[in-house]
Each structure stands twice: as C-alpha cells, then as structure tokens.
C-alpha cells in the first residue's frame, strides 16, 4: 500500500472538482473512486502524516477492506449513472465529489481526528445530494436529514473528545482496546443514527427517495455503512451488552420490513429494505461483540453483498423496469440475491450470519428470528417487484435506453461477493441442507403474497414515509417555534439603564437660582457657618 496511492485516493475527488464544470465531468466522477478500489485490492499497510491537522494516519486493514471495495465499486457504478441527472448537473457533480472525498478520508482514516473529520465532511456534503431536487419535499427531507445527522455527529464528537481526553489523537488501533464506557455509549448512539437503527432511522426513508437515483444508490449502498465502520473501530464490547444490540438489530430488521410493506413508492420501499438489512448488520455486529473478531468476514460479506445489490436495485428504480422483460430480469436478479436465493451471495451471507449468532450462544434467535426476517425481506422485495413492474411509461413514447451502469451493477452484485467469499474461505463450504433451508422463504413469499392480494387495496395499511417521524416532527416544529418566540421576546427587551438622568429642567432651575446674588450670598454665609462649626468643633 503505497503512500502515493493513499494521497491519490484522498486528493483525486478534490482534483476532479476542477473538471466538474467542463465536459469531462462524468469521466472525472467515475475515475475519482478508482484509487479506493485499488487500495482495497492491494495488501494492507499504514501511512503516517504527522504534520497534517493533528497528526493524520491512514491505513488499510481487515476492518475497512471490504468497505473500501464496496465504496470503490459502488461510487464508480453510481458515478456512471450520474450522467442521467438532468437538473444542475455541475452542482450535483461538485457535491458528489465532496461526499466522495469525505468518504475516502473516513474509510482510510487510522487516527481519531481524521476519522471524525471524514465522517463530518461526508455527512454535511450529503445534504447537498439530498436537497438537490430543490422541491419542497426535498427541502423537508434535507432538514430532517440534517437535524438527525447533526445530532448524531454531536454524539460522535462528544465521544471522540472524551476518548481523546485520555489518549490524545492516538491511532484507532491502539484506542480500540480501552474506550471508556460513557464514550462508547455516545459513539454507539451517534453511529446508530447513521446506521439507521430504530427509532433513529426516520431520516433514511425520507431522505433517500427524494435524492436523484445515483445519489440514493450511494446513500443507501455505501454511506450508511460508515456507521458500521465507526462502531467497528471505536465502540468497545462493554459499552452496551451484546444481547441488547442484538435485540436492537432484530427490532430494526422487522420494523424496516413491515413499514416497507406499507409503502407505495418503490424508492421508499427500497429505503426501508436498507433499514431492515442494517438491522441484520447490527445483529451481526452484536455477534461480533459477543464472540470476537472471528465474525468480521461475515460482516464484511454482508455489507458488501447488501451494498452492491442495493445499488443495482436503486439504479433499476430509475430505469423504468416495467418497459421490457430484460429490465424486469435486471431488477429480479439483485432482488432475489438480496432475498437469499441459494447459490447467490445473499443466502451465503445469511448462513454466515446464522452461524455467527449461533456461535454467540443465541441458538433460538438463529433458528427462529433469522428465517422470519428472511421471509419478510422476500415479501418486501416482492412488493418492490410489483411496484417496479408497474413503472412503465404511459404511452409507448420516450423509453430511455438502459444505462450500462445498471447491468454492470447487477453483475457486480452477483460476482464480487462470491469472489470475496472465496477469497475468505471461511464462508464457502455450505452443505446442501443449508442451501435448501435458504430456499424455503423464497417459496413461501409468493404464497403469502397471493393470500394478501385479496385483501382490499384501501384497507391495506398505508404508512406515511418515515413512520415515527410523522409523530415527532410536529413536536419538533412546535419546540423550534417556542424557542424562536422566546429569543425574540428576550432580544426585544430594551436594556437601557432606567436611571432617569436628572432632567435638564431641574438642573437648569436649581442652577439659575444658584446664580442669583441673594442665594449665592446666603450660601456664602452658610458655608462660613459650616466652616466655623467644623473648625470650632
């Protein structure tokens, strides 16, 4: 891992900004993430830059390698699709590259300050992508996203400062060992916001759909994983009991799927599927906390698998899936992979997850909860499939050609996780029985779907996007208005000193009397008397 490559990875997005204005915009956008991919494939290593900021350090190690791979591929694929963004493409490209720069710094950072820097820059820049559409819902989504993101970032900052209090800006590797409990809790909460765990997930289904297609792809596919990286790097096992994390993960998985089913827009459904998948990732993380780093490859696979396939799905969402059978297939493949189709990486990842959870001692969860969640995921994707098929242009007129990035993404979604699994032998030797068990939910899903189909449409439960948000939002707005009115009232108070300067009239009146000879003479006598008394006394 050469220092030049790391520098290139960090600086290329900034250099690309120069070309963002010109014709080579798409080329710049696609090429920018290449160094990340290269780093993911080359061997691990560390580079230190003591003079930068507070002593920056960059490393590639087992923890961030899968995410680097995911980021490299994901950003390139989504970047290619960015050519389709019609509205203010230059501004979109600039924000796109900013987010990429933040992500690159975050992934490669090996020191505390650097990590936090990347995290914050990525979060803030993503706001640009969320509100890119400029419509009212986009602004509302942007505000929600920003509020939640900043809250999360504040928690992370607090955690980071507490950690740095004892360690200074030490390398993440050394810190992983003893992170004080309170800091761990803060960090966990902060990263949970980014990872979209219930109830902190409300921003995700609101923000992702409004963003342009490539942006949603990257947001759901890659950026969400930043939370995972943070937890892996910083959150110590003793921060929260692993079983608690497990419960949180499963709750998010089920909640995400169920809420997704009640949605009517394809991109929102996909967003909810991300929420539920992230629940599973949290469960895997709980397992890792319980049984140690042996679970790491499973997490890596899970992240990689979900990332690539989700990108493919989002690209599909923009590609008028209903227009032709070929597009239907391109949508079905990643969907099935995600649902856990045997021989596809989805099922591989799920088995890895099952064994990890079982390994951590929670057999009942592994046997019962996981299949149920797989079933729900399948149902959700089926619902997504029906919505996608409905998306065909009204008249035969303008059907946009399939963007090459889409099929590539589908291919990547299928091939790359396998390559990764093979490279890390641990996950390869699945027995036939496990494969069969994986097939069961896939078969059950259409049956249940058929049963539910008869349920009359209007009665079908319809949840607004962001479910819990709808309850919280008005309270938030009321609070903001109250604060605003309070501050306005306070600043309106006039703090002028109430001392009434002796009015000019009184002074002038007394002064004019003092001038008169009788008064002046009288006062002379009084003063003489006083002096005599003072002297005589």
């Amino acid at each position: 891992m050469s220092a030049l490559l790391v520098a290139l990875a960090l600086l290329l997005p900034w250099l690309a900004q120069l070309f963002a204005g010109g014709r080579a915009r798409i080329a710049a956008v696609v090429v920018a993430p290449l160094p990340l991919l290269a780093l993911a494939l080359l061997d691990a290593g560390e580079v230190r830059a003591p003079h930068l900021l507070l002593g920056l350090a960059f490393a590639v190690d087992g923890v961030n390698r899968p995410l680097l791979l995911l980021a490299g591929l994901g950003w390139m694929l989504a970047g290619a699709a960015a050519s389709r963004v019609a509205r203010a493409p230059v501004r979109f490209a600039r924000f796109w590259l900013l987010v990429l720069a933040g992500q690159a710094w975050l992934l490669l950072a090996a020191d505390l300050a650097g990590f936090y820097g990347g995290y914050l820059m990525m979060t803030l820049a993503a706001f640009g992508l969320v509100v890119h559409a400029g419509t009212a819902p986009a602004w509302r989504a942007g505000r929600v996203y920003l509020a939640m993101a900043l809250a999360g970032e504040a928690l992370v900052l607090a955690g980071v400062l507490v950690v740095a209090g004892s360690h200074g800006n030490a390398a993440l590797a050394t810190i992983a060992g003893d992170v004080p409990g309170t800091a761990g809790l803060l960090l966990l909460a902060g990263f949970a916001v980014k990872l979209g765990q219930v109830p902190l997930h409300v921003w995700l289904p609101v923000a992702h759909p409004v963003a342009p297609v490539p942006a949603s792809a990257v947001l759901s596919g890659v950026l969400v994983k930043a939370g995972l990286l943070g937890m892996l790097r910083l959150v110590p096992p003793e921060a929260v009991a692993p079983v608690g994390l497990l419960a949180l993960g499963l709750l998010t998985a089920f909640w995400g799927a169920l809420a997704g089913l009640c949605q009517q827009r394809l991109k929102t459904v996909l967003a909810y599927s991300t929420v539920s998948q992230m629940g599973l990732v949290m469960a895997a993380f709980a397992a890792l906390q319980a049984s140690g780093p042996v679970v790491l490859p499973v997490l890596g696979l899970l992240a990689l698998h979900h990332g690539l396939n989700k990108i493919a799905l989002f690209l599909a969402a923009g590609g008028q899936v209903g227009a032709s059978r070929w597009r239907g297939l391109l949508f079905a493949l990643p969907a099935l992979s995600l649902a856990g189709l045997p021989l596809a990486t989805g099922q591989l990842a799920k088995d890895g997850l099952k064994s990890a959870i079982a390994g951590a001692g929670w057999e009942t969860v592994a046997t019962l909860a996981l299949p149920a969640s797989s079933l729900l995921t399948a149902l959700l994707l089926l619902h997504a499939w029906s919505l996608a098929r409905a998306d065909r242009p009204a008249d035969r007129g303008e059907v946009r050609p399939v963007h090459p990035a889409w099929p590539l993404a589908v291919l990547a979604g299928l091939v790359v996780p396998w390559a990764w699994a093979l490279a890390h032998d641990g996950a390869a030797d699945r027995t036939a029985s496990a494969l069969a068990a994986g097939l069961l939910p896939l078969l059950l899903a259409p049956v249940i779907r058929g049963a539910l189909a008869r349920w009359p449409a209007p009665v079908r439960p319809r949840l607004p996007e962001g479910d819990v948000l709808v309850l919280v939002a008005p309270a938030g707005r009321w609070l903001a208005r109250l604060l605003a009115r309070g501050l306005d009232a306070w600043s309106a108070l006039d703090w002028r000193l109430p001392v009434a300067w002796p009015a000019a009239a009184i002074l002038a009146a007394i002064e004019s009397r003092l001038r008169r000879l009788p008064v002046a003479g009288g006062l002379l006598l009084v003063v003489a008397l006083l002096a005599a008394l003072a002297l005589g006394g």
Binding site: W501, L507, R515, L517, G521, L523, V527, A531, A534, L535
Partner: protein
Amino acid sequence: MAATELLPLWVLVPLLAAALAACLPARRAGQLALAVQLAALASWPLLAAAFADRGPLTVSLAGLAPPLAIRLYLDGIGLLLLGLVATVTTAASLHALATPGRAALRPAFWPAWLVLLAGLHTVVLSFDLFNMYVGLELLTLAAVALVASAGTVAALAAAMRYLLLAMLGSLAWLAGVAMIHAGTGSLDLELAGAALAPGGWVSVALALMLAGLLLKAAVFPLHGWLPLAHGAAPGAVSAVLSALVVKAALLLVWRVQLWLGPAGGADAAGPLLAALGGAAILWGSLSAYRQDRLKQVVAFSTVAQLGYLLLVLAMPSAVAWQGTTLHLLAHGLAKAAMFLAAANLVRRAGDPRLAALAGSDAAAPVSVFAFALAGVSLVGLPPSGGFLAKWLLLQGAWQAGAWWLVALLLAGSLLAAAYLFRTLAALLAHRDGAGQARAGLPVPRIAELAALALALGAIVLGFAAAPILDLAALPAGPGGAP
C-alpha cells in the same frame, strides 16, 4: 543669592509692562504682553534650577525682618504654578493676538491682561496675609475688566455679578486677616501660624477667610457666577480665568490649610472642604452633561474639575499631594486648550449652540483634535497627565482607606467621559446640508495651533510627570520652612 533677589521681579516686570502697555496702542501693547510672557517662560528654568538645589526660596522685602516686612515665598507647587501661568498665558495671548475680534483690539485689554499676570504672580509668591488680599483684588478687578471686554450684555451682567461676589469674598478674607493680625500680631503666614492657638475667634476668622476663598474659587455651591463669566468672556480670557485665576484662590486655601491649619485647627475643615469638592465634581459634571452650549459645557467642567483639587484635604499624604499638583497642571493645560478650541469652533460655526456645531471636524479639524486631546486629559484616560493625577489620587485615597473618595474619583471620571463624548459626538455628527456655507468666520492657524500645543502639553505631561513630581515634593508646610 541672585535667584532669590530676582523673585520679586516676577511681579515687578509685569507691573511695569502693564504701566507701559497703558500708554501704548493696542497692537503694540499686545506684543509687549507676549514679550513679557515669553521672558517669564524663558526664565522659569533658571528659577526651577535655583529651587531644585536650594529648596523653597524666601525673600524679605526692604531688608527688614518679619513680622514687619513682607516676605515672598516660593515652594514646589508655587514654582509649578508659575510655570503653568507662563505657558497658558503665552498660548492664550497668542490666540488673542491671532484672533481678530473686538475684545483684543480694545486699548485697555492688554494692560488689564498684564495686570492679571502680575496679580497671579503676586498671589503665587505672596507669604503675607494682607499682600494676598491686594493680590486677590488685582486678580479680581483685572478679571472683571477682561470679562467685560467682550462687550455683550451677557458679558457685562456676568462681569457685574463676578465683581460684586468677588468683592464680597475679598472683604470676608480681609476681615479674617484683620482678626488674625490682631490676634497674633503678625501678617506673616509662618509667624501667624506659629502664634495661633486654637480658639473660638480663630474658627470665625479662618471660617471667613476660607468662605471668601471658596467664593473666589467658585467651589460648589458658590460657583454660580463662573459659568456666566467664563461663558461670556472672549476665548483667550475664559481660558486664563478657568485655568489659572480660580486656581490662585485654591492655592491660598491650601496655604491656609497647611500653615494656619495645624495650629489654628484649620485641618478640621479638611473633610468639609473635600465634601464640597466631591459635590462640585458631581454637580459640575451633571450640569456639564446637560448644557446645550459648547462654552457652558467647558465652564461647568471647570466647576467639576476644581472639586478634585480639594479632595486632598481629606487625605493629606505625599502621594495625594503629588496627585493634586499633577491635576493642577494637567487641568490647567487641558482646560485652557479646551476653551481656546471651543472659542475657535464657536467662531467657525458662528453659533455657540452644540446642535449647530455638527460637522465641525471637517470645518476645523485641528481644533476638534485639540478639544478631544484636552478632553482625554480631563477625563483622565491613560496617555495623559490627567490620568496619572487620577492614578495618584486613587492611590492616596486607597492608602487613606477613604472608600468614598475612591468611588467619587471613579464616578467623576465616568461622568466627565459622559459629557466629553456627548460633546464630541455633537462635533463629529454628520452635518446635513454640508454644502451651504457656514455662518462663522475663518479661524486663524495660530489660534488653532495654540490650542493644540496646550492639549499636547497635557498629554505629554502623562509621560514627563516624574521630574515634575520631584520638584513638587510635599508642599512646604510648616515643616518645610527655610
């Protein structure tokens, strides 16, 4: 030997000059006056040198021994006051000569000016009670004549009021002197002080003397005549009156307190005088803040600043006396500069009211700068003599544990800042319709430079205070007698 003999010349030379000036036409008389003042300024260093190596100087006139002969006496404060008189009168006469106006062209103006100078020197040098009376008379009549020289109705009325009250004060002083003379057999300050024994009659005598002086020094509540007189007088005259004439009376208050005090119990009057001083600071500042005419603001500022000079009587210590001496000098320079600058500004705007002075910074920038510099010293902001004086007074008050004095000093400078910056704001205000011509007359360059020179003097005093304070070691009370 030579220096002590030359002491009386400080009075005789202006006296002769006055006599000559009476015979000369106005223009020539002015130049003569300027020449005399420059001579005084030039010879002051010689006097200072003599004082430095031989301490307080005493001269018995006509070679006789006291109590019969009149003695002249020069201590630290007297020497510095002479220096101040020379500086301020030179600058003021330059201003008067440069400013074409009815007052300076009157035939009697310059002779009266020289008599005023002679009177000031007499009072500063005098060590004999009756001689002080004659000196005070000289000062009063000359000052009244100069105030009347303005020629306006207000000036004449103010002069009349000033004359009557001043004469009342002088006669009160004379009554006191008569009693002291009868009681102790001597008019000489030192012998009278020595022979005095506390008694009922002494209290009455000293009370009359102090009351007379307070009236002439325009200390609150007897200050009614000052704003009228100093407001109506021509610029140069009001500068000299405010900076010097009222101070002469205060010098006598100190002399009475220091020489007749210990024996006659006069130091018991210290707290009362300090209280009056404090009241003067507050009343003067508040009134100054409320005036709507520039010269009135400056006049009331005099009433306020004089209060500071009495505070030392409540906390007599070396530091406090040094502070008072420095305040005497700094206020002298600053107040004279302020009055000269004010006269320039009023002349330039053609209207004495503050409201009409807006935009003066464009019309007469040097005068505004001089006014501001003088203001800085009056308020006691750091780079000025006024600040060091306030610093020393605060030190004295703190060591004497007089908390009310500390509070008073701080409040005084805050109030002073209030009326100074209010006035400056009026001067710097944006003048709407700056286009049309101003009603006033052009101000000669020399007049502005005279004001600026005095203002700079007040500021430089802030840095050159050390040598001056060595000169003004504790004013030679009875202990310091030769």
